[in-house]
Amino acid sequence: MSHDQIQNLGPWAEAAVPASLSDRKEAQNRLFPILAEKFGATLDPLDRWGLTAVVAKERLRETIFFLRDDPQWSFEVLVDITAVDYLQWPGHEGARFAVVYNLRSQSHVAHRMRVKVWADEEDLDVPSIHDIWKIANWQERETWDQYGIRFVGHPNLKRLLNHHEFVGHPLRKDYPAQRRQKLSMNDPMVDQLEARLRTLGYQLLDSVPESSPMVEDVLKGGR
């Protein structure tokens, strides 16, 4: 793309030009010493692209705040939260789980990175960041559902993908992949319905019983 063509693209010109790999690498090289100095972050040796910073649990929230709000970096988008189970990882020592935050920048083209937090099996508590990004609410619920990581401070840490009668966390390496668990009845989600009604300004006079009204009425001969 020539210079004139880029000029014609108007305000989106900068975004239209993909950052070269060397640019990105150079930016990472500037960022990681800052993270190491401010938050004690280390570069993750398991990541062959060198884009992952490992921080301690206690410093996670301030690291995330810095990465999101600092105008030089401004990682505005939380792409995903997930976890890794290193149970049978060859040669792995230390904590069993790692919680991974995938970040991406909108204002700096193609800048991306990961923040990684170790969580041992005895202490699965990780601070929640649901107030930093709204989407983190559901992503943390998914991580809790699949890996059993407890996010401290989360307002509603319930299962997201699996049903409410599910026992265990299926993406852990010691969960047999084909162990199926049947569901007898769907979750009526009355608590979420009531919370939603309250935010809309309704006043609840009587709470709905958490069972199937159909079964009860038929059995009692009502309706």
Binding site: P170, Y175, Q181, L183
Partner: protein, 188 residues
């Protein structure tokens, strides 16, 4: 069917003499034909409920629209409430979280009702051999016809419909009445 015919003839014999004279010889046919008449009506006016959860549902849209035209098989009148449908088309992956919903939909359909499992996922769970997918919907609801494919071609839907129509033509309304199936009530 021969027993029903004889019974009907016997009861007619006790009726008024004029009636017996007017219809002598033909009255025995009536009970035999009720099955044929009802089965003809049922098999040629199937009202499907499309329970589409995956790509089989998208393929079904093509099978149902003008190029392949399921209306030729008298199965074009899609109902989006189970109360007025008599054919449940399960198209796609059913997870254990979804299973009670599918079961309740099936229970809400009035008798007589039939079920077609469309595609690999509905028949057997497909390649989702994992903790969350039901390995075939016949764990939850009884299935009349299975269609193979991932997703099946429109010809698959047509063949399944024709097979189902043949199956319906083999059923006996009088037999179902005797067993009380026509007034079966499900709770749950």
């Amino acid at each position: 069917m021969t027993t029903a015919t004889q019974g009907q003839t016997g009861s007619q014999a006790q009726g008024p003499a004029t009636h017996q004279d007017a219809h002598a010889g033909n009255s025995g046919f009536l009970a035999t034909n009720i099955d044929a008449l009802i089965n003809w009506g049922r098999s040629n006016s199937l009202w499907p409920y499309p329970y589409a959860t995956a790509c089989c549902g998208i393929e079904f849209m093509s099978a149902a629209s003008s190029r392949f035209d399921l209306a030729r098989f008298a199965s074009e009148f899609f109902r989006f409430t189970p109360r007025s449908a008599d054919l449940l088309l399960v198209m796609g992956t059913i997870t254990y979280k979804q299973a009670p919903i599918l079961r309740r939909i099936w229970e809400q359909m009035a008798e007589p009702k039939w079920v077609i499992a469309v595609g690999a996922c509905a028949c057997s769970g497909g390649f989702y051999d994992c903790y969350c997918t039901v390995p075939g919907i016949d764990e939850i609801v009884p299935v009349d016809v299975y269609i193979a494919g991932c997703p099946p071609r429109p010809e698959g839907y047509m063949e399944a419909l024709m097979l189902l129509q043949e199956k319906i033509k083999d059923e006996s309304y009088m037999e179902q009445r005797r067993q009380g199936l026509h007034q079966k009530v499900y709770i749950g």
